[in-house]
Structure formats: C-alpha cells, structure tokens
Symmetry: C2
Subunit: 212 residues, 2 copies
C-alpha cells in the first residue's frame, strides 16, 4: 500500500504482458517516471490505436492498415503459392528472410485441445474457402506451422481438409492433383551443433538429407 | 515496410524501454493485438496518467499521490532516522523487508561522471537543506546507496557534505557529533555461496564480521 495508485496501476498493466514478472513491471514503471510526458503520451496513443487503426486483410487475414494488405495487393507476388502460418509474426519472420515471393494465410493460432482451441477457433475455414474459390490458380500450399505438437496437429488437419478439394474435378484428369501440399523443411538450424540437437530434430535431419 | 504503421509505432515504443529488445517488443505488440480494446485503453490511461497523477513528496522526494507522502505523514515513523536511497524502487524494497521504521530521502540517481551526472543533477542539496533545518532532531543518517562504484562515490560525497554540518554548534558540545552517519552493511547475501562470492564481497564480509 506504500505505492501510489497511478504507479500500481501501470505495474499491473505491465504484469499482464507475457514474460514480464512483478520485478520487471516495477522496473519499467519507475523508468517511465523519468521519461518526458510527450513520450508517455506517444506510447499511450500507440497502445490505444493499435487495434483501432489496423484491420485483418480479407484475403490472407494478416494484420494490416488497409484491406487488402500490401502483400496481397502486390502484383509482383506469386498468388499461386500460399504459405499458411500461425501468427502475423511468422509472416514478418519469413519476409525478413526475404526469399519467399508467394502470398500468405494467417491462422491466428494453432489447434490446441488442452487450451480448448479447435479447428473452428482459428481461421482454417477461410483457408479452405479461399482454396476452393481459386483452386485452378493455386500450385502449392506450404504448411508453415511451428514444428511442435500443436503445429503438427494443425498441419495434419489442414492437409486432410484440403485432400478432398485436391481430387481431380473430372475423370479425364484422374490421378492429377490440382496443387502440391508441402511442409517447411525440418532439420538442424543454421549454426546449430549436432551434439546439442535433440533426437527428433536429428531424425528429421536424417530423413530430410539432400544430395550434396 | 511490411509492418502496419500502428504496429511499428508500438514496437518502437516498447523498444525504448530498458531491457526490451526488438524481438521482445514485437512479441509484446502482437500479443496486445489479441487483447480487448478496454484493456488497451486501461494500459494507455495508466501510462499517460503516470506522471500527471503523481508528485514528488516535498520532504523525502519519493514519488507519491499526495504531498507529503504516506511515509512522511505517518506519525508512527521515526523522523530522527533518514535512509538516503537512489531510487523510489529502493524505498519499495526496504519497505517490503518491513523492518525499517525511519523515513527516507530519495536522490533520484547517483553520481556518475561517465554519464555526466554530478552532485547537482541529483537531489543532494535537498538532503543537506533538510538535515540543516532539522539537525537537532536527527539521530542517524543511513547511506543506502547501491554497493557499486556510483553508489560508493555518492555515499562518500554526501558524507563529506554532511561532515561540516555535523560539527558541534558551540564549544561546550565539542567532540560530540549531532548525528551518526552509517552505511548499509556489506557482505554475503542471504543464500549466497561463499564459493561464488567475489573478492570485494568477501573482503567486506570479513571486515564486517560480528560476534556470534
């Protein structure tokens, strides 16, 4: 009770953020006491406008200022290739890598039965609809979910859902899938030590070995 | 440039905080995209009101809602004992320990020549004035600065400044200092391993040994 209420209020707000404990929250709050009011107002404005000034792109569901987002409205991007990712941050990571020229689909989550997140809670239906509406244009769907239990379960579920759509439309096209479904490569991360890699990673690295 | 401006703006605001790098800033920002607008507004309000709704206590310079602060206006606190600390967070830490019943003086920094922080940049003058005005009431001044270079330099400077005031007012009181100046005890922290303690800490622990 010795802390002033405005200070307690900000400490509590920081504490609600993931990975920020009571000590860090207090440290950040007391740091901000020494910052000019204009900077606090800028920070506050950025916070309250974060969601007001952004929308989900109606095509890929990424967070953007305009709909459609810059990637979906970029004529130079290859619309025949869709990389499905869990979060907007994953789009950012892939864009930073800079080699992917296709488009994205953001699920905003992964299937996680322990947290009651089923296929309906994330944007899988939108992906299925998108693929159905444009299945003749699409050549490849890359399943770019995380390489953990939830990511694998989500990838498996989406693969099964897409399989029915990927069957040939007429008997004359029998045996020809309309598009490829791929999963991001797994193995040793760059700079990774073989010695410290876990068994699953090593097994995947062996399975995914390439001619050199 | 693929990030929406409202997102970039918040990431940049988080990045300005100490100990928060670009990755953490992005993670926090994208986390907040999934949070209700009311919670964002609450966070924003706490930020912009942090300094507007707080004042520095005119006696101890701690951050408080009212002047004087709850500690200085508490009649049960021993006003004859002043613990001088660097930051409001230090007051919090000592109050949590719960054994100190005196009052405080918050310097809001420490002398740090490398960062151009001299004695005038922190609230040393206020301490000297406070001690001069009430020197007959004061029994002890505890120098509670951090146990690092800056803290030691600040403690040394304050000790020298107080020395002149601590000389007897009349020849009849010769040799009797008006108040004690002490420094917080140094040594092994509780739970600390002798094996891992550095040389300075061990030297201080030996110097500060007590009969058992």
């Amino acid at each position: 009770m010795i802390l002033a209420k405005p200070i307690r209020r900000l400490i509590e707000a920081f504490e609600r953020l993931p990975g920020i404990g009571p000590k860090t929250a207090a440290r950040l709050t007391f740091y901000l006491l020494h910052v000019p009011q204009s900077e606090l107002d800028e920070f506050a404005g950025a916070l309250s406008n974060l969601k007001k000034e952004t929308v989900l792109c109606s095509i890929c569901l990424n967070v953007a200022e305009k709909d459609p987002c810059p990637i979906c409205s970029d004529r130079s991007r290859d619309k025949s290739m869709i990389c499905v990712v869990e979060q907007p941050l994953d789009v950012l990571a892939l864009e930073k890598a800079g080699n992917y020229k296709g488009v994205y689909h953001v699920l905003h989550g992964a299937i996680n039965p322990l947290q009651n997140i089923g296929p309906e809670e994330i944007h899988i239906k939108e992906l299925i609809d998108r693929v159905r509406d444009r299945d003749r244009e699409i050549r490849e769907i890359i399943l770019g979910m995380n390489s953990n239990m939830e990511g694998e379960a989500t990838a498996m579920y989406i693969k099964n859902q897409l399989k029915t759509q990927n069957s040939p439309a007429s008997p004359s096209e029998a045996g020809r899938a309309k598009f490829k479904i791929t999963r991001l490569g797994q193995g040793l991360p760059t700079g990774g030590d073989l010695e410290y890699a876990d068994e699953v990673t090593l097994t995947r690295a062996l399975e995914g070995r390439r001619e050199f």
